[in-house]
Each structure stands twice: as C-alpha cells, then as structure tokens.
Amino acid sequence: MAETGRLTRAAAGPAISPVTLLRAAIILGALAVWELLSHSGWLYRDVVPSLLSILRALIALLTSPSYYFNLGVTAAEIATALAIGGLSGVAAGILLGANRFLSKAFESYIYYLGPTPKIIFFPVMIMWFGVGPESKVALGSLSCFFPVALSVAAGMRGIDKVLIRVGESFRAGPWQMVVKIYLPAMRHPIINGIRLGLGVALIGTLLAETKLSNKGIGFLIINAYSTFDMPRMYAMLIVLFVLAIGANALVGRLGGLDSIKRV
C-alpha cells in the first residue's frame, strides 16, 4: 500500500501542469501586448486604454449602487423572458414531439424561423408593448421560444418507448403522462434547450436595451459609447461576459452531469 501511495505521488508530476503554465503565459502575454499598445501611441489611446484605467473603471463599476440597480432591471427582464419563452417553448415542444401530424404541419416553421435574427422584430415589439421593459421582455421571450421548442420536440421523440408504455399501462391521463413520464425523461434536452434559450434571451434583451431604453445594462453600455468612456465600456463588457458565461455553465451543470448517466 505504501508503495502504490508513493507511486501515485510520483506520477502526479510537477505542481503546475504545462497546460496551466501555457494558459498563464497566453494571458500574461496578451495583457503585456495590450499595455504596450496602450502606451505606444500606435492606436488611439482611448481605444486601447491602459489596464490600470480599466481596473479602476471596474472597481468604480462594482462599487456603484446604480450599476446594481441596472443589473437588477436587466436580470429581471431576462428572467421574465426566460420564463415566458421557456414555458411556451416546452409546451409547444411537447405538443410537436407527441403528435406526428402537428410536427409535420408546423415544426418546419419553427425550425426555419429559429435561426433568423430576432432583433429586427424590435420595432414591432415597441409598437405592441411600448418603449419600457415590456418590449425587451417580449423580444427576449421570442428569441428564447425557438431553441427550447426545437430541443424539447427532439427530446420528446427520443424518449424510450418503454417508459411511455409503462405510463400507458398504468392508465395515466395526458397530464399525468406529461408530469410523470415526459418531463422527467426529457430533463436533459429541456435543460439543454433552456441553456440555449438563456443565451439568446440574454442577447435579445440586451441588444434591445442598447437600441432604445433608459435603464439596464444594455443602456449603460451604449451610454458609455455615447460619452466615449472606453475604460467603463471595457469594464462593463468584462463583467457581462463573466456573468453570461457563468450563468450558462451553471444551467449546464444543473441538468447535465447526473442525468446523462441514467441507464
């Protein structure tokens, strides 16, 4: 036992793996090039502000209460959009996945409308829902609906027939079938669809905010552009990217790891 213990310790290698080392080198290299560019004067100073000023803007951003107010507005819009678009997407997906006729009749519309640019519906959404947060929620919901519906419909068709037969042999009603059989069996495609939906809802909502709004993160970004406050814009993009990638990873982890292993 002592032998194997020593062996594994020896096999663990150096404390820092070459991958980590390379990553650190790439990041440090990029930062160094950035800083060099910002001091060289080859590019406009404002386009490539020094790291220090970005850091300062980042700290100022994270300590200002108004930023959190705007973050809250945007988060509420995205959450509402995800709830509306996601629920209607799941419902539509279950209908299309369960019924071959409906799927043949309507699924191609959703399939082809899915990847079109949703932001161009924004003028219509303003007309329907006004210039406030409602139109942003509407655009986010519209973006979110398509990937969720497609993913759920595909997941529905992929359900093990045995599970469905079990439900039928227990004489489950339609609602019971949905709650007891379909939804648990489709957890993975649903979570995956919601992950895709979250990404596009976020983009839809924020883009709409940059186009026309007076609060929210999108508004702050376009405001930094209008006042040419580049360090602030970089700081906001950094925070936004960290939040977006983190949310995506979180949703993936919630449904991904344990449900794939179901046998």
């Binding site: 006729f101 990404g199 814009m233």
Partner: protein, 260 residues
Amino acid sequence: MTAAAPAKLSDLGNFTARVVGIGALVLFLLVAEILIQTGAISRFIVPPPSEIIGSFYRIITQEHVFSRFLLTAGECLTAGVMITVFGVAGGVLMHRFKLLQQACETWVAAMASAPVVLMYPLFMVIFGRNVWTIIMMGFVAALPPVILKTIEGIAGTRKVLVNVGRSFNLSPTQQFWKILFPAALPTIFVGVRLGLIFALINIVGVEFLINYGGLGQLIEDLAERYDLAGTYAAICFVILVSVLFFMALEKAERWLRPVD
C-alpha cells in the same frame, strides 16, 4: 431537423399535414385581416396583411432592396471566407499542438456561449461606423463553431484511414493533406454552415442596430419613418431571405456529405 420529423406518416398524411400547416398560416392572416379591418386591432399598431403584401412591391422597387441584399450578402460572404480561413487554420493548429488545444479549447467554447454581439459599440469605436464593423462582428461571433468543428473533424478521423497513411509511410504533411483533412471535411463544413448562420444573424442584427448597411438598415429606416406596412414587409422579406439562405446551406451540406 425536418429530416428527423416523422417518417411514419403515410404520403396522404404528409400531404394533409402540409396543407394544414399552410392553411393555418393563411387562416391566421385572414383572421388578422378581419380583426384589423373591423377595428378590433388598431391599424396603427398592426397594419392589415393585405396592406403589408401590397407594400412588398413598393419596398422592392423604391428602397433599392436588390443592392441592399447584395451588400448584406457581400458582408456575409467576406465574413464567411474569413471564418473559414482563420477557423480552419486555428482548428488545425490546435489539433497539431495538443498543449495549445488543452489550454484554449474551453476558452473557445466559452466564447461560443458568450454574448459577443454586445461588443458592437466597441467595434464601432475601433473600426468606425462602416462595413468593417459589421463584417468583423459577424466574423468574431461566428469563429468559434468553425474552430471547434475542425478539431472535432480531424480528431474523429477513423483509425483505419490513419493506419493506411502510416503503412504508406506518409510524411506528417502528406498524412495531413491526404488523410486527415479530406476525412475531416464534412465535419468542417458543418462548422462553416453554423458559422455562416451566426454570421448572418449578427450581420443583419448589427446593421439594424447601428443603422448602416443593407437589409437590417432598411427595417430601421422604415420604422423611423413610421412606415408601418413597409416595416412589416421588410421584416418578412429579411426573414424570407434568411430562411432561403439556411435552406441553401442545408442542401449544400447534404450534397457535400457522403452517405455513411
């Protein structure tokens, strides 16, 4: 995937389903027309479908739709060439140097899920409010899938093929060009197709947002003039163009992909 859609329906069933699908759309437009004509829905919010269809001719003849379409298509094509060149090169490079792949593949995947298009104000500062902002936005947003699919394609080459190359004693360069690259080509094209879709979405979106360029700008322009029927017609037109674009890409992919 429509291909995954039911194969079990009979021909008659398929036909009926298609008729029902189109019929529902027609019925929807008809109901909307009636509701708007009777005043149940204000025509200052939703113009009647007949008016929208009527203004198709107007926007095509008066708004230079064809040259706008060419501009947007040109932007997409430029971004498409760029993602193909840089994406495939990046993927090959990352496959060649395993360490680089281990270090960066998760970064590329993270970038694929990040809302890159929100950087458009930044790009406007860097490139100015011109075509290059739009192209670069499409390029950056569409690059990750090409890189990831290139890696996947090369790594997924069947062992037998690799061994054939080895037994012919091919040099690494020959091994790459004669074995790995051709075997990866169908998967790479899947990446390029995804990339082109992302590029189109982002390009039209940014055109709309910065009010510059081709089809996206047309919508913004008409909306600002409060030309309601025109706006709706332009949106339908852009949707139609993008759907046709996806269909063409799908056809191309099926044509390129050998039956396996």
